[in-house]
Each structure stands twice: as C-alpha cells, then as structure tokens.
Amino acid sequence: MRNVQIILNAILSKNIFEYILVDRKLHVISASQGVRKYVNAMPKEGDDVLEYLPELVGNEEEIKQIFVEKYCLYTLESVYKNNDYVNISVEYCDQNTAIILLHNITAITRAQQNLLQYSNESTLLYNTLQKVVDSQNTMLFVTNAEKIEFANKKFLNFFHAENIEEIQKKELKLYQKLDASLQNYRELFVSLKEGEKYLKLGKDIFIVQATQIEAAHTLFTLTKITDFPHEMQLDPLTGLYRKDYLNEMVEKSLQEKRNFALVVMDLDNFKQINDTYGHLTGDKVLKAFVMLLKQHIRKTDLLVRWGGDEFLLFLEDGSPENAILKIENIRKLIDEYHFETIDHLSCSFGLSYTKENDSVDSLLQRADKALYEAKIKGKNKVLFKEE
C-alpha cells in the first residue's frame, strides 16, 4: 500500500494525472489541486461535477452504471480543456465513490495535431490543384510505371470514365494509336522528345506533348486542334505522316525558294518477304525499317509512307552531293542491319534535287525515274536524276 501511494504521488507530482472523487449522484467529494487548471476553479464538495466537466452530459446514466457493475469503466479521449488535452476516465472506487481521472496527453496530442494539420492541408491543396487542372481545356494524364495514375476531368470525360479507376480498367494504349511501333508510354515519352506528335481520336486531332515531372511521373497533354488545315491522316502501322502532308511541306519550301532533296525509296523484294514469312512479319519489317531510318534523319527531315513498301523523304540540304552521301549512308546501314526473322533487307533509292521552276510533280517524277533505274541496275542502290 505504501508503495502504491509513493507511485501515485510521483505521478500526481508530474502533473500527468489529476482526479476528482464523486458520489453516486456525481457530486464532488474532493479533487486534486491540479484539477483547477483544467476547469478554471477548484471544485467544492457537493458541486455537480457536470458543471466542471460538461463533457459528461448526456452520459450520466452510463456513468452511474459504474456503481452497479463496479468494474465497468467510462472513458472519453482527447478532450480539450483550457489549452490542454486530457483523457477522461471514470472508475469505480467503492460503493459510494467513483474516481474521475484526468490524464494529460497534451504533448502527444499536439504532435498528432501537427501531423493531422499537415495531412489536411495537403488534401486541401491536392483538391485545389485537381480543380485547377480540371478547369484546363487540355486533356492531361500522368503515368507512373506504365499506369495512368492521374487524369483530369476532360480526359476522363473523353473516355467516358467517372474516375481514374475506370480509366485504369480500360488499359488505354494511346501510344499504339499514335505509332504502332511504340510498345509503352515510356517509349512514347522518348519519341516525343524529338518533337510533339499528332493523335487522331474519333474526329478530333490532338497535339501530344510529354514532360517528365519526377523520376517516376510523366505528364502527357493532349491539346485539341480546332482548325486543322486539312484532314490529316497518320499511317497507323508506322505512325508516319502520309504523302499529302509531305506535298504541303514541299510546296511551302518551293514557294520559299529553299533547296532540298526528295527521295523515293522502295524496299527490295518486299513482296517475297510477305509471301515467305507472312504479312505480320512484313509489318514488323516495315516498322523496324522506319525506326532505323528515323534514328538517322534529322528533326527537320520528313519521312512519310507512300503506300505499301514505298516511302518518301524530304531532306533539306545544301547540295545534291551532300544529300546523296547521306542517303548512301542510310542504304549501307540498312544493308548491314540484322532484321528480326528475315535477317537481311535492302532498299533502293531515287533522288531528285530542287532546280528552277520545279513543282512537287516534277521533283517526284525525277526521283521516281531514278528509283526505277536503281531497281533495274540490280537494286540496293542510290541513284540521282538531274534531268
């Protein structure tokens, strides 16, 4: 008993616990001195304890039950009392007395409050930012390790999704719509580094751009182009533009009197590849060919697909000799490249270079003739036609 008293005094002297003793009517019998700081006054004998602890109002019956069941306990946690936080508990002492313990938990509660404040403020900021991005006219989404983790309202609406989970279920592979040779969003991001791309979704065309936000997060934006010059079509297999886009570029460059080369290329014996290995392999070869070429041309060059295995290349270059040299390098590159399944592939090239009074047609005609010659002279060649 003496030990218990020593322990009790020690606890009380640290101001961690204070107590009020009450009778069966919940009237004060006595209280420890420190109670004053929580309730602003010293409870006197006979006072209604609810005056000091209004937190207990509404629970009187439950508390009185302590006198009946004896071992039962009433507790109320994290109650703010005059700048402190206390846990209030009521326990049975003897048949006429219950003890109300006030356990000071201010230190830990303040720490919890800081955390909660931080978390709540973050949530509010997040909600605000969400509203900001939702108010944007651009569709946007963020990927993390190939998963679309975030998207704004515009994007959700476009894909008829209520929330991000529904988008995730759809497993949208937008990169494939953009360029069939792309395997994932990572590759899309890499390919967008070379410049923005166009994506056709339904009737609309979007400019696609990407930004790395953090190591893990990539932001993709899709901005709708409202007045596009003409119905632009991307080749779904290779993701290349089609010939009409090149026509436009060539015409514009002719008008501006710029010098450039036009190259027509045709894969050698492509029909045989298709017949021997099947069209799926044929498609793969086309994709690999395009990838290879893209790696060796500049941003300002334009490669387009012109039907089956024919491609056109627009090369802005100072002289025909320069252009020939470049194309010769590309020819070699392809000749020496190990393609999957078929291993070897070659390509023939016909080149023309701008001169006075040229038109798209005259340039194409000369390049085409050069290609024809390259073919009959044994393929895997680069030929240039001056006249």
Partner: protein, 158 residues
C-alpha cells in the same frame, strides 16, 4: 436547468470550429487550425421561455482516412451537419453524416449548414436548392448562425 449535448459534424475544414467560435465569441479567424479530439463549449439560450444550456461538441473533422469516433456520439440530442458550400465533395458528404448520426440515435435532431456562403456568387446561391432546416451560413460575416443553432435547439425541445 436543461442541458443538451449537440455535435458539429462534417468533413474537415468546412468551418465547424469557425461556426462555433462565431456563435460564442463573435469572432472569425482566416487561419486554418486543425481541430483534434473534442472541445466542448457552453452556450445559454432561452427557447420559448425555457432556459437551455447547449453543450456544443466541436470535434475533429472526418477525413478520408479517419472516421469520427463513435464514443463522441453518445448522449447527443442533435447535430449541426456542416458542409462547405464552395466544395462539392463536402456537400456530398452530408448524407453520410446524417446516416451516422441517426444510426447512433434514431431520435436525434439535426439542421444543416451550407457554410462559407460568403464565397458564393449570387447566381450560385440561387441554384442551390436547400431543403427544410438547411441554412446558408457564413462564419466570416455571421449570416444565419444564430438561427442555425436556435432552430436545432427548438427541434430538440419539441
């Protein structure tokens, strides 16, 4: 004297603490200080010549990761359900708070506060269709706060 316990219920940061503060002290603070645990405030009022002491429980707001402890619901005669009229997600939370209250005490009375009305444009206010016992309050300019509390007090004494 009659004492009645009422709860302030709602998502965090909708203005529960601010409404109580304005009702009791007539003051307002722009700074957001997260409430933790519970703080009980007393307010004496006379309703139809009956003296009543309201014990207003301002409690930690509900967050997506933390529900309001049910121990706080014990012995409550009613509640003021608060939402932030400028934040849709908190308005959508009202139903759940009412459900929680009535699940605990089917007899409990409640009134609803669409708070932060000072942030709404006249047009936005018009488009709100407020049901009975719903008030467009503002802890900033004080509008509809007294009637909010007295309506609940009357309901409880009925």
């Amino acid at each position: 004297m009659i004492r009645k316990k009422i709860l302030m219920l709602g998502d965090f940061a909708v203005g529960k603490t601010s409404l109580v503060r304005h009702y009791i002290d007539n003051t307002f603070d722009d700074v957001y200080l997260t409430t933790i645990g519970v703080k009980v405030s007393k307010k004496m009022l006379a309703v139809n010549h009956v003296e009543l002491e309201l014990l207003i429980w301002d409690i930690e707001g509900e967050t997506p990761s933390k529900k309001i402890p049910k121990a706080y619901f014990k012995g409550a005669s009613g509640a003021i359900i608060v939402c932030d009229a400028s934040r849709k997600e908190t308005v959508e939370g009202i139903r759940e708070h009412i459900g929680d209250l009535l699940a605990f005490n089917r007899e409990a009375k409640y009134v609803i506060a669409y708070n932060k009305s000072d942030l709404l444009s006249a047009q936005q206010k018009e488009t709100l269709s407020l049901s009975e016992n719903t008030f467009l309050t503002s802890a900033k300019d004080g509008s509809q706060i007294d009637i909010l509390f007295t309506t609940l007090a009357k309901e409880i004494l009925l």
